[in-house]
């Protein structure tokens, strides 16, 4: 039964991937998409370009980002033994938004002279600023994770970093021009479409390293379900495990936020959906399931945000919340034990 659900998830994610290559402002037949993917030539040159240049990097980004946020969310929920924990509890996205705010709002003039020679470099400036901000918090969290006795200290740290960052961002917004503010708000909406093939060379390896490390933490995470004392009695070096879990989750959350903006909902909801689907807290099942469902859902959310058939497009974060929250509510109503770790 478990295997059946897992196979269904694989099929779901695969289908979502193909659909997101086929559907858009221009619809491309699935067999043509498949032909392009297998290295062949589509019957129209424009289709070839659309799939390879625009839709493929976007679909890969969505797949990886969704998987990354779900894995990080799962890790954080178990580490903090808190069903409301998400990939951003450690303040990673706050750091990234601060970086972006500083570039977009504060140093717009400075960054224009440094990065803004071409549109491409400007774009790199945004990603670079977000990466730097996320990396700064990442380094802070890891330095502290090694020392603290209690995991609650980490949680408080993340919370305070978030408040500090949002205070600075508010000040910047207050003194900014409307168009600068709207550029910043635009970034906070999130998007999978900003990652070029060039950037993929940094994005994909970062996420694959993070995901690989996350997979290696499933066994100690299972022991941590019983609490730190029991985990210790079973030979788990809690401090070391905490550091690696924090490191991989922060890397995943940081990289996604840097390249796609702060994308909500997926990281907190997908682990819960998987627990409900498989009726287990076993990370050996939950981790691969979260990767698949997270990647698939991210692709679907991205599809919906483009509103196929219309000329308009919705911000990604609007879709993740507007579609995701009712789904979770529905499951909460149906399952009493939903929300447990």
């Amino acid at each position: 039964m478990r295997r059946g659900i897992l196979l269904l998830l694989i099929a779901f994610t695969g289908a979502a991937f193909m659909l997101s290559l086929a559907i858009g402002a221009v619809s491309i037949p699935l067999d043509e998409v498949l032909r392009v993917l297998l290295g062949g030539q589509a019957s129209k040159d424009t289709w070839q370009t659309i799939v390879l240049t625009f839709r493929l990097p976007k679909a890969i980004t969505a797949l990886l980002a969704g998987a990354a946020l779900s894995a990080a969310g799962l890790q954080m929920q178990t580490l903090f033994r808190n069903p409301l924990a998400d990939p951003f509890v450690l303040g990673i996205s706050s750091g990234a938004s601060l970086g972006v705010a500083l570039v977009v709002l504060g140093g717009a003039a400075v960054s224009a002279s440094v990065f803004g020679r071409t549109a491409f470099l400007g774009e790199l400036g945004l990603v670079g600023a977000a990466s730097l901000g996320a990396a700064a918090v990442f380094a802070l969290v890891l330095a502290i994770a090694r020392r603290v006795q209690s995991v609650i200290t980490l949680l408080v740290l993340g919370l305070m970093v978030g408040y500090l960052a949002s205070a600075v961002v508010s000040v910047l917004i207050y003194f900014s021009l409307p168009e600068q503010v709207s550029a910043y708000i635009n970034w906070t909406f999130g998007s999978f479409g900003g990652v070029t093939w060039q950037q993929m060379r940094a994005f994909a390896p970062a996420l694959l390293v993070g995901l690989g490390t996350a997979l290696l933490t499933v066994k100690p995470l299972n022991a941590l379900l019983l609490g730190e004392n029991y985990a210790r009695s079973m030979g788990v070096n809690v401090r070391v495990v905490r550091w690696w879990v924090t490191a991989s989750a922060s890397l995943l959350a940081g990289a996604v936020t840097a390249f796609c903006g702060p994308i909500g909902f997926i990281g907190i909801a997908v682990p819960h959906l998987c627990r409900a689907l498989f009726a287990t807290s076993d990370h050996r099942v939950l981790m691969p399931a979260s990767l698949l469902l997270g990647g698939g859902l991210a692709l679907i959310f991205d599809l919906i945000s483009q509103m196929p058939g219309t000329r308009a497009a919705l911000p990604l974060n609007v879709v993740t919340s507007a579609v995701g929250a009712p789904v979770v509510l529905w499951i909460v109503m149906r399952r009493q034990s939903f929300g447990r770790i």
């Binding site: 100690p220 379900l225 019983l226 009695s233 030979g235 070391v240 807290s281 034990s337």
Partner: protein, 318 residues
């Protein structure tokens, strides 16, 4: 891979620790004891501040026996158990676990020698009793925690021994306190350690479940040859079911012996004298009944030993 990192981190710690302790690793003076400690000082060290709880303890935990650790609150029962299980460093002295010096053992190695049942509430959403018991195999499984058929069999046997085989498919969240305690004991058994520590295993149970639990533990110690050490406030049940008592006074005293010996010598009365008039009166009564031969040796021994054969307590409340 995490395991290897853990070991690497541990090796570093060992090198640091080895430089602190210059004494060589000796063989245990008493290899028959599951745990042997000499001149053990327990307590807490925070920075330069040191708080000693007990000084110069000498003790031996026998194999195949149920030993009860008794004492008023704050006497240092948990501190001693944490120290003996390597969760907290000893301030001084030496501990041998299963004949090996405790300080030479990695956390992983300790996990193969000593399992614990704690009072910590286990609150997992979607976990069957079987999956919980199977976590006891943690020190033996590979990087992803996959269970071999052999592991599965050990878990099943452990659940059977703890009397919870019928609960295997139930969700942990739906179990009663007594049922959950049995599953936690099965988890400790599945860890296949020669020693099991239990921190107040009867704390949340009603009387019939408490009697069942003590009976189960004595039985497990005798049948499997494991050394069981439990801390408890259940004085009377400990007197009846434990093979040996470790008495810890609030004043830092520590005496060991069989329940008979300690009752006879009036040690119980002394240790709990600070616990109020009613307790004193109860123990005085027990002591006097013993002296008046009203409380014969049979009161303590015959019932527990008889019960191992006939299992009368398991009939109480089913």
């Amino acid at each position: 891979m995490v395991n290897r990192w853990e070991q690497a981190g541990y090796a570093l710690g060992q090198m640091r620790r080895a430089s602190e302790h210059s004494e060589p690793a000796e063989r245990s003076p008493d290899a028959t004891a599951a745990i042997y400690a000499r001149d053990l000082t327990t307590g807490y060290r925070q920075g330069t501040r040191v708080r000693v709880v007990h000084r110069g303890l000498g003790l031996a935990l026998p194999r195949g026996k149920l030993t009860a650790l008794l004492g008023p609150n704050g006497a240092g029962k948990s501190t001693l158990m944490r120290t003996l299980s390597g969760l907290q460093p000893a301030l001084a002295g030496a501990v041998w676990v299963d004949g090996v010096p405790l300080r030479t053992l990695s956390p992983q190695a300790i996990a193969r020698k000593l399992a614990v049942v704690l009072t910590d509430r286990v609150d997992v959403g979607y976990m069957t009793a079987y999956a919980l018991a199977a976590l006891g195999r943690h020190p033996y499984t590979r990087w992803d925690g996959w269970l071999t058929p052999e592991d599965e069999q050990i878990v099943q046997e452990a659940m059977h021994a703890a009397g919870c085989a019928g609960l295997a498919a139930r969700m942990v969240a739906e179990l009663s306190d007594g049922e959950r305690q049995r599953v936690m004991i099965a988890r400790a058994l599945a860890q296949q350690t020669p020693i099991i520590f239990l921190d107040e295993p009867t704390a949340f149970l009603d009387l019939p479940r408490r009697i069942e639990m003590m009976h189960l533990l004595a039985d497990l110690a005798h049948r499997t040859g494991r050394a069981l050490l439990l801390s408890t406030h259940d004085l009377e049940l400990a007197l009846r079911f434990a093979d040996g008592l470790w008495l810890m006074g609030g004043d830092g005293t520590f005496v060991t012996g069989t329940p008979m010996e300690l009752l006879q010598r009036g040690e119980l009365l002394r240790v709990f004298s600070g616990e109020g008039r009613e307790v004193r009166r109860y123990l005085q009564d027990l002591h006097q009944r013993w002296q008046a031969k009203d409380l014969s040796a049979d009161w303590l021994k015959a019932e527990t030993q008889g019960s191992h054969d006939k299992h009368p307590v398991s009939q109480i409340g089913g």
